[in-house]
Symmetry: C2
Subunit: 361 residues, 2 copies
């Protein structure tokens, strides 16, 4: 639907919402609408056609176009949602948000969306305690009109949104997911932009292998949540198969869990060992833990997040591709938000992270 068609659609839907048009009422003819909005008759036709598809009006040669159905609460909600350009971002409740939905990401996305007059509004779920409250909140939101939802989740740590994603599907049909985590949303028909987690592991392994290091350990925390393990397993898969590929099947990684095991194994293996560490935070804690025990930091270590909080550690790190993710999400929204689009594709796009080498002083 182009901008002119959308204007006419908005005019008609507005009169339905206000109650100016009720079942049996005539709506203006294509000619009248075209004149009123200084546009072509084809544009007026397309706008009316959309209401016909929604089952709201019916047209006949003799009786003209009439409102055929009463506007029930569901239809009302749908019309309101179709009339706005407000995109609502649902923020998850976990503490990693600041690494994920960053200022850089938001600026890039907002710029992309502004080109088509869309605005972003934030909704935080801090006050939502359970499913019933989420349902209530979604009902209230959609009643004010929301063009699309963006679910911003990290995936590995926020189960609540994932478990209740059926409510989003129930109340809206334009849902996009932005996550830096693993695969939890795969089964849903939501367009998704995510990080290539396997690729992150691959990048880290390649970096160490190209420095001639053959003994490599993937280091993570002692956490046993399913999402945390899935996420790390996928990255470890990238490490493992890249090591195999580059060594013709001879080398594969070890997995070290928790500070004490990492410390002990490093002491036993000496300095020839490379560490791939699940987050910059853990890498910083490893350095501190080693320092407390009078040991030097592991000389070959690479971690993930490009977390500015640990800048002073001068870590070699792998940065999430914020700008590319925002651009890709913007493109997915444009391609799929049109109210009469039935494009028939659901895209799940994984984007490569970037290596950032910080040389220690």
């Amino acid at each position: 639907m182009n901008q002119e068609q959308f204007e006419i659609y908005r005019h008609l839907a507005g009169r339905l919402i206000d109650g100016q048009l009720s079942p049996g009422s005539h709506i203006e003819s294509e000619q009248e609408l075209a004149r009123k909005f200084s546009t072509t008759r084809m544009n007026a036709y397309r706008a009316i056609k959309q209401l016909e598809r929604r089952g709201i009006v019916s047209r006949s040669k003799r009786a003209g176009t009439r409102v055929s159905a009463p506007v029930n609460p569901n239809l009302l909600r749908q019309l309101k949602c179709e009339m706005t350009r407000r995109i609502c971002v649902i923020h998850s409740r976990n503490s990693y948000e600041y690494l994920h939905w960053t200022g850089e990401f938001r600026r890039t996305l907002q710029q992309a969306l502004a080109a088509e007059d869309f605005t972003l509004e934030d909704v935080h779920l801090d006050d939502v305690r359970d499913r019933a409250e989420l349902k209530e909140k979604l009902l209230r939101l959609t009643e004010t009109g929301i063009a699309a939802f963006i679910l911003s989740v990290r995936g590995e740590e926020d189960e609540f949104l994932i478990e209740n994603s059926d409510l989003f599907f129930q109340y809206h049909n334009k849902i996009f997911v932005y996550q830096s985590g693993a695969m939890s949303w795969m089964h849903w028909p939501f367009h998704t932009v995510t990080v290539n987690i396997f690729g992150e592991g691959s990048l880290a392994a390649k970096y160490l292998m190209e420095k001639g290091i053959r003994k490599i350990a993937y280091c993570r925390r002692e956490i046993s949540s399913k999402n945390y393990l899935d996420f790390n397993r996928e990255r470890l898969l990238g490490v493992e198969f890249t090591m195999r590929r580059l060594s013709d099947g001879r080398n594969k990684p070890e997995e070290w869990v928790g500070l004490e095991q990492i410390y002990r194994n490093c002491m036993e293996n000496g300095s020839g060992c490379g560490l791939i560490v699940s987050t910059d935070e853990l890498a910083a804690r490893i350095i501190d833990y080693f320092a407390e025990r009078g040991a030097k930091r592991p000389p070959e270590m690479i971690s993930f997040d490009n977390n500015s909080e640990y800048d002073s550690y001068r870590l070699t790190t792998i940065a999430p591709p914020h700008v590319e993710m925002a651009q890709t999400l913007g493109r997915l929204i444009f391609d799929n938000i049109d109210i009469d689009s039935e494009c028939g594709f659901v895209s799940y796009i994984k984007i490569d992270s970037k290596l950032i080498i910080n040389h220690q002083e």
Copy 2:
């Protein structure tokens, strides 16, 4: 890399493969190559640059461009693969191939690929009994030069390829997956085209709900393999959440397993019940089973596959989108097969199936 750059690259790589160039040899200057191939110096530069990136040649102002590394077996394999336009299709060993890799699909894909001079070759794995034999086969294939692999799998029934996908990753870096099954390949960095399984369930539920049917059962066979269950669970999810959406949360489907249970439940529930049946094959078997017991076929039944073998049953069915899948796969291959592309995206695209209503006689 454009066609002219590729011609020069192929010329140089060919001389390396033949052994005409060995470590220390000079290669022609950009000017000489540009003249020889009647092209620009920039195109010659790009072709040489590609060999430099592979670590095969090094250039210096004083000594010109020289071969720096011996061509080891791995590098030789890589060069051979880069020099061809042969795309190799690996066909899985399962019996559903004929519904999946259809003539229509193949014709569309072949046409798309021919536009850029690519050819398709088929490799069947019928003679491959285990991992060692697959490894041997892949080594032999890549030694003859393969531009890319397409893994053609149904996903739900073929575990062998999935379990051994690391071998493909080990021997090649241009891998595409075409499947009509579920999610098994998600963790791999392979571009994938698949069917929107959730969407298929959604489409079936919408069809029955719009006919006013409120009691709906999802019917499947008595099979307990993980892939079969995953696949059906995803489709059932589409049925369930679409029923909920269209009934404001009031209706949800039952799940009936096996011919006897389906028959018994139909008899108890009468003709007002709608059946969503996992395959056309099962739908046909249901009709036969009912007929043997003197019962009429279930009046409201929709199944999946658009399998021509059951045309005589005049089933209402949901057809896999063969043409769209082939076009999308072709596009993914073009976007990502270029030997110097580092586009940094992995796309997993689910495509909507189509409803085909066959009225019974």
